[in-house]
């Protein structure tokens, strides 16, 4: 959702409805095998490539792991890792767990959608902060 907001796939001006959320690539569609995969979402207006990654409950440690690997490769300036988990609310966690982990889509999806709508402004804020960080890196 944060990547979709950054790329303009979702408007920042109003809370998206369920149809709009479900139209976002990968939204509530991932499987267990997708964890760890870095998936391309698109390019922003500055030609930055935007990717998404599911990392289970690894927290900021995973960000540092990726930054460290980029540093080894001499590419640390090319990578900005954004941990979205601190903007994820309980509804999103419970709904995501029910829908994805337990396969109870009809039960979990409405909860994750509700949680996502509730977290919308928090995510917009994160995306704006990220945009500024990206500009500072140029």
């Amino acid at each position: 959702m944060a990547a979709a907001l950054h790329l303009g796939l979702l408007s920042k001006d109003r809370i998206p409805n369920e149809t709009e959320l479900l139209a976002v690539p990968y939204f509530d569609k991932t499987t267990n095998a997708d964890f760890g995969s870095i998936r391309f979402m698109g390019k922003d207006e500055y030609n930055n490539e935007v990717y998404v990654l599911g990392k289970k409950n690894m927290g900021d440690r995973y960000s540092r792991l990726l930054q460290g690997v980029a540093k080894i490769l001499g590419e640390e300036e090319q990578l900005l890792v954004v941990n979205c988990m601190n903007r994820v609310n309980t509804f999103m966690k419970l709904g995501g767990f029910s829908s994805r982990k337990m396969g109870l889509v009809s039960l979990g999806r409405p909860v994750v959608v509700r949680g996502s709508r509730k977290a919308f402004l928090e995510l917009v804020n994160l995306v704006e902060i990220t945009r500024l960080r990206a500009l500072q890196m140029v």
């Binding site: 289970k56 792991l65 080894i72």
Partner: protein, 137 residues
């Protein structure tokens, strides 16, 4: 080229594997720099171990409980950054009881850190040193 030894903990078996690869002595774990250094492990960054005879830089890294997930992410990141296995080789290191190290590393040092972070892992790893050697060689 860079070589990254990846384990659940970067300051236990992955570190030993990197030292074995560099032909450094590992029989006495206390003599291995940064062995059981959980503060370093907590940083989450790769740990530089040394350079092999071909000039490759050797690192170890703790990935937490899901090493396969981390391996996948590192390989994907390598591709995203336009690099290949010629630039970075990822070598997962696995031992019995490896997930226990993740839990032990989280125990705060004042609660008997030396026991949880060093002595118990050393006991677990001592009997598996041979299999780590076989994996690396």
């Amino acid at each position: 080229m860079n070589i990254l030894f990846l384990g659940t903990s970067g300051v236990h078996h992955a570190l030993i594997a990197a030292n074995i690869y560099l032909k450094k002595p590992v029989a006495d774990f206390n003599s291995i720099p940064d062995f059981a250094n959980v503060a370093l492990e907590a940083s989450g960054f790769p740990i530089y171990v040394g350079e092999d005879e071909e000039g490759n830089q050797v690192y170890c890294l703790g990935a937490g409980s899901d090493v396969e997930m981390a391996k996948k992410s590192i390989k994907d990141l390598r591709t995203v950054l336009g690099r290949s296995a010629n630039d970075l080789v990822v070598k997962p290191v696995s031992v019995k009881g490896e997930k226990l190290f993740v839990l032990l590393n989280r125990i705060p040092a004042p609660l008997g850190g030396r026991l949880w972070h060093k002595l118990i892992p050393a006991l677990i790893l001592k009997s598996q040193l041979k299999s780590i050697y076989q994996d690396i060689r």
